[in-house]
Amino acid sequence: MLTLMATVLSNERLTASVFRLAIEGSFHGEPGQFYMLRSWDKSPLLSRPISIHDLTSTAITFLIRLHGEGTRLLSRLTSGDQVTLYGPYGNGFPKPGGNVALVGGGMGIAPLLFSAKRFPFSKVFLGFSGEPFAVASYQALHGDVVFQSGGTILDAIDLNSFDKIYACGPLPMMAELRRRTAETAAQLYVSIEKRMACGIGICNGCTINVGTGNHKACTVGPVFPAEEVDFDELLEL
C-alpha cells in the first residue's frame, strides 16, 4: 500500500461532465482496484474513491464524472497541480480463465479500460444513456469493443458465450444483468459503490451485506460475486 503526493500530468474534459485525469508516477494496482483521491486540504472532509482507469509505468489515469464538490475540485486540476493518492485499495476482478465480458454502464466503464488491457481475451461492452465518451481509448487497445447509446447494452451481449462477466455500472443495470445471467453458466462479478471514509477497513462505513455476511466494500470488495449481493437492499437506499 502506498500513500503519495503526486503531480498532475494532464486533465482532459471529455464531455460536459466527464474528465480524464492523468497523474505522474509509478503506481501499482490490479483491474477493479481503486485509489482514494484528494486535492484539497480539509474541506470536503473525506477523500474520494476512484477506480484505476489506466496504469502505465509512468502514470496512472482516472476517468471521473462530475458529481458534487469533491469531483468538481478534481475536475479543476491542471498540469503541475498536486494531488494526494492513497491506494491501491480493495479487491478487483479475479483473474479470468476462459471468455470474459467486460460490461460497463455510464461512468461504470471507468475500471474496464485497465481490465481490458490486463485481460486481452475479453470482449468489451460499453453502454451510455447519453453522449458516449472515452470509447476511442478502448478501441485503440482492443479489437472487440461494442458500444451503444440509449437502450440497454445488455441486449447486445450474448450472455451464453462467456464464462465470466465483469460488470460495473448503475445498480439497476447490474441487477438486471444478474437476472439475465441467473440461468446461464457465466459467473457474474459486479463492482459496488458505497460511501467510504477510510478505504482500508477501519471505519465500517462501507459495509455491505452479502450472502456470506457483512463485508467491507473497501477491503473485501468493491468487486463481489453477483449471487452474493442483495440488489433489492442496495436499491432501496
Partner: protein
C-alpha cells in the same frame, strides 16, 4: 520525545495522542501504513458481548467541516475479538484500549466479564494484554427503540458501577455530549471509582435528503464528529476538567497539533484523534512530531507545564 510523555490512570503513554474508537478499526490495517510506535495508544472499535451487524442504509454523510455516521456499532463481538484481533494488536508497540459498548446493564456486565477473564488468562500465560478499558455509556439502546442509553446520571451510574466491579483494568468512562448534565455524570464517574473520563462522543444530529423527502439515515438521527464540533467539545472538556480530579481524555474534531495543545491547556491528560484519520490517513505518523515542534516554538518544555493552564 520526553517532553510529550504522559500518564493516564497509571498507564505510561509515550505521547498523549490516542486513536479514537471507531476511527481506527483494530489498528492493524494502519500498522501497514506507518509504525504505530508514533502513537500513545489506540482504542478499538466499540465491542459488545454479542456480534452486531450494524445499521442498514447510508452510514456516512459529510457536513460542513463535519462527518455524520450511523455505523450502529457493527462489531464481531467480544469473544471473536479476544480470540483473533487482540493477539495481533498486542504485537503493536503502543498501548491498547478496549472500547466496551452495550445496550443493557446485563450486556455491559457480560462484555466486561469476558474481557476480564481473557486478560487475566493472557497475563497468567505471560502474554501482553489490554492496558485500559474505555466504557462507552452512550450506545444505541435497542430495547428502548433506538434511543440512546446512558444519558441521564441515574442510568449511567448503574452501568459504571457494574463495570467497575467487574474489571480490574484501569477504567475510562466515555461521555456523551448529548447527556443532560455532563458535569454531573463526570462527577458520578469519579465517585463510582472510574480512573478517568473521556469525551466527547458524537453529537446527535440530523440530515435530510430533500429529494427523497426523508432522513439521510434510516434511524433518523446520526452522530456528528469532526472539526465542526471542536469548539463545543473543548468547552465541555474544560468544564469537566474543572469539576473532577481524575484524568480527562479530550477529543472532538482535533485536526492539528495546535488543536491538541488547546485541549491540553484546557486540562486534558491525553487526547484522541477520530475523524481526522479520515481526512489524513497518515495523521498519526506525524502528529507527535508536529506537537513537539509547536511546543518548541511556543517555549513549552513539557505538557505538564501548560496542562490545565486555562
Amino acid at each position: 520525545m520526553n517532553c510529550l510523555s504522559s500518564e493516564l490512570a497509571g498507564v505510561k503513554l509515550r505521547n498523549p495522542i490516542l486513536m479514537a474508537s471507531g476511527t481506527f478499526g483494530f489498528a492493524t490495517p494502519v500498522a501497514k501504513l506507518y509504525p504505530l510506535d508514533k502513537l500513545g495508544g489506540v482504542v478499538t472499535k466499540g465491542l459488545t458481548a454479542t456480534p452486531r451487524s450494524g445499521n442498514k442504509g447510508t452510514r456516512l454523510c459529510e457536513t460542513p467541516s463535519g462527518l455524520m455516521n450511523s455505523i450502529g456499532l457493527e462489531n464481531p463481538g467480544i469473544p471473536r475479538f479476544l480470540s483473533s484481533e487482540l493477539d495481533e494488536m498486542t504485537r503493536l508497540d503502543t498501548n491498547i484500549i478496549i472500547n466496551l459498548g452495550g445496550s443493557s446493564i446485563q450486556e455491559y456486565e457480560k462484555g466486561a466479564a469476558m474481557i476480564e477473564e481473557a486478560c487475566k488468562q493472557r497475563k497468567s500465560d505471560g502474554k501482553r494484554s489490554a492496558d485500559l478499558l474505555e466504557l462507552n455509556i452512550s450506545c444505541p439502546n435497542v430495547k428502548e427503540g433506538g434511543m440512546l442509553f446512558g444519558l441521564t446520571a441515574g442510568q449511567a451510574r448503574e452501568v459504571v458501577r457494574v463495570v467497575r466491579q467487574t474489571t480490574s483494568l484501569p477504567l475510562l468512562v466515555k461521555l456523551s455530549p448529548n447527556a443532560q448534565d455532563l458535569v454531573r455524570i463526570a462527577e458520578m464517574c469519579e465517585t463510582e471509582g472510574a480512573d478517568g473520563v473521556s469525551l466527547v462522543n458524537t453529537f446527535q444530529a440530523m440530515a435530510i435528503d430533500i429529494h427523497a423527502r426523508k432522513s439521510v439515515f434510516r434511524h433518523g438521527y446520526a452522530g456528528l464528529s469532526g472539526p465542526a464540533i471542536k469548539p463545543i467539545a473543548l468547552r465541555m472538556v474544560h468544564q469537566v476538567t474543572k469539576a473532577v480530579t481524575i484524568p480527562v481524555v479530550g477529543m472532538g474534531g482535533i485536526s492539528s497539533a495546535s488543536d491538541i495543545l488547546e485541549f491540553i491547556m484546557a486540562g486534558a491528560a491525553a487526547v484522541q484523534i477520530g475523524t481526522y484519520n479520515f481526512m489524513n490517513i497518515m495523521a498519526g505518523a506525524s502528529l507527535a512530531d508536529e506537537l513537539q515542534t509547536l511546543m518548541k516554538q511556543e517555549g513549552i518544555s513539557s505538557l505538564q507545564e501548560v496542562r490545565g493552564i486555562v
